[in-house]
């Protein structure tokens, strides 16, 4: 029974992904992306990764997508009230055809790579088998072997925060630097 659920969720994920590309307004893309994330989260659950399913929802859907939403609202890009339309405009034109070809090629590469791996089909695990990413195993791994990358990632996050503040801060008058283009007349360039 759960295999059928997987294929349904797979389809949902793919449609969501397509939705992201084809949505007319960025708001539409955000929503379809949200759909993909939910589908993926359930797939993780089915595959036995409980922690990661939760993480997917909390971090991806909860944090990153909210951030996107926030930015779209801030720059009022998406037409608020409109329906969720799709438009195939981006797929027209020579450039799009080339992009399509590259995307198809990537898909093929992925498929061939997947076939080549020796991962034969296996029997279903017992329904109540413990989660693969059991917390204590994961914690031991994360803070044991991968403690260095863990520290590195935390530094990365710190750096990102600093960068974001500097980049997005609105320049108040009297401070030089940053927004030069705007204040002083037309830039000669």
């Amino acid at each position: 029974m759960s295999s059928i659920l997987f294929y349904v969720l797979a389809l949902v994920a793919l449609l969501g992904a397509a939705g992201v590309i084809l949505a007319k307004s960025p708001m539409g893309s955000v929503i379809s992306l949200l759909g993909t994330f939910f589908a993926l989260s359930v797939i993780y659950l089915l595959a036995g990764f409980q922690f990661l399913a939760a993480a997917q929802i909390l971090v991806y859907a909860g944090a990153i997508l909210v951030l996107f939403l926030f930015v779209i609202m801030l720059l009022n890009l998406g037409a608020m009230g409109s329906r969720f339309e799709l438009s195939f405009a981006p797929l027209q034109g020579g450039r799009a055809r080339l992009a399509g070809a590259i995307a198809v090629a990537f898909a093929l590469v992925g498929l061939i790579a997947a076939q080549r791996t020796t991962l034969a089909a296996t029997s279903a695990p017992a329904a109540d088998a413990p989660a693969i990413d059991g917390l204590e195993g994961l914690a031991l791994e994360l803070f044991g072997r991968y403690s260095l990358p863990f520290q590195a990632v935390s530094v990365l996050l710190l750096a990102t925060m600093v960068a974001v503040i500097v980049l997005a801060k609105r320049q108040r008058e009297g401070e030089h630097g940053g927004e030069r283009g705007g204040e002083r007349g037309g830039d000669p360039r």
Partner: protein, 106 residues
């Protein structure tokens, strides 16, 4: 679910291909960023599929999730910086179209 790992990987390939397509086709920078997120998710899925396979064969399978976690954090950082850039770009050019910023040419 006794779905063969290969199918999981097909899904991941499909998602990745769509991500790439969006990345190259869309003109709105925010959607491009989203496609990048999509690609990263596809990668995550592939990690976990492999980890699931190792777990089913009884081998230690914790590397997958750990990498997935790292991918998530990196994706978060990348999205944050990307969006900050978009805000700065928007303030400069009043538009989020990729073609707006075309001065940096050879």
């Amino acid at each position: 679910m006794n779905v063969p790992t290969a199918h999981l990987l097909y899904l991941s390939a499909g998602l990745f291909a769509l991500g790439v397509l969006g990345f190259m086709v869309r003109r709105n920078v925010i959607v491009v960023l989203m496609c990048v997120e999509l690609m990263l998710n596809a990668a995550n899925l592939a990690f976990l599929a492999a980890s699931r396979q190792h777990a089913l064969e009884g081998k230690p399978a914790l590397q997958g999730p750990v990498f997935a976690i790292f991918v998530i954090t990196v994706a978060a950082a990348e999205a944050a910086v990307g969006l900050a850039l978009i805000i700065a770009l928007y303030r400069l050019k009043q538009s989020a179209e990729t073609d707006a910023a075309a001065e940096m040419k050879g």
